[in-house]
């Protein structure tokens, strides 16, 4: 798989950074607008899947390969768990929103969510990395099968 025509490649090159940024935006502002970590993460994964389809897996895997997606996956999951633990340590219980109480009266802003944007970002990265890992594994598995 070496990729598609140059039109597809050019369009993908222009569009994919925006898709990535859009995914991050959807994830970060989940507590303000519809969306959240999960759709954001899927959009991030979609960005990398698009790159893989357009450029072929050799090029894309140079950028973001299976090992790095597995590492991101684990690290983001651990970050999520750590937010729970920090709530346990600093707040009133596991997953207490301990940052939020530090910003009273800032409703409708990014900061007003306390630790929600952080958790959302962690979920977004986790979901993006794991879905990309599945896609990459399916692609690789087929390559092995054809040998």
């Amino acid at each position: 798989m070496t990729g598609m025509s140059s039109i597809v490649k050019t369009v993908t090159r222009w569009v994919s950074p925006f898709i990535f940024a859009f995914g991050i935006y959807i994830a970060l502002t989940g507590h303000l607008t519809p969306g959240g970590g999960f759709p954001g993460g899927v959009i991030i994964a979609g960005c990398f899947i698009l790159l893989t389809l357009a450029y072929g897996k050799e090029t894309t895997f140079g950028l973001f390969n299976l090992e790095s997606s597995a590492v991101t996956d684990s690290l983001a999951a651990l970050a999520f768990l750590c937010m729970g633990f920090l709530g346990y340590v600093f707040g009133g219980g596991f997953f207490n929103n301990f940052i939020q109480s530090g910003f009273p009266g800032t409703s409708f802003r990014l900061l007003s969510g306390g630790n929600m944007p952080i958790i959302n970002l962690a979920i977004g990265l986790k979901v993006g990395a794991s879905l990309f890992a599945v896609f990459a594994y399916l692609a690789l598995f087929r390559a092995i099968e054809e040998d």
Binding site: G36, F108, V127, V134, L138
Partner: protein
């Protein structure tokens, strides 16, 4: 009542596919359809007539919001259940591919090595 029943019919279509079809992909599709039906049912349960999305807008009073917003809890549950079903589907497809690699087919009748 009729609306709920439609969700149940969707559920039944999925169940029919899981029980009757002899093809791994059709069985996976049946499970996906059943999960869709349950998600739709949960959202229907939380709906109130001419309700609005449960998102507070600036300048809207809390009492007005309370009288128009739909039930947010089922929606949170559905997001969780959608993610869970995506995980299940990923695992199912991975297993189906392994089976295809072993037997060269998605047809269950040719796969059955284990019986009873």
């Amino acid at each position: 009542m009729l609306t709920y029943l439609l969700a149940f019919i969707l559920f039944a279509v999925g169940l029919y596919s899981v029980i009757n079809k002899r093809n791994l992909i059709k069985i996976i599709m049946g499970v996906i359809i059943m999960e869709h039906a349950v998600n739709a049912f949960l959202i229907l349960v939380g709906y109130r007539m001419s309700g609005e999305a449960p998102i507070v807008e600036e300048g809207v009073s809390i009492s007005e919001f309370l009288s128009t917003a739909v039930d947010p809890l089922p929606q949170a549950l559905v997001i969780t259940s959608i993610v869970i079903s995506l995980g299940v589907v990923a695992l199912m497809v991975g297993l189906a591919i392994r089976l295809y690699q072993h037997y060269g087919t998605f047809d269950i009748t040719e796969i059955r090595k284990l019986r009873g």
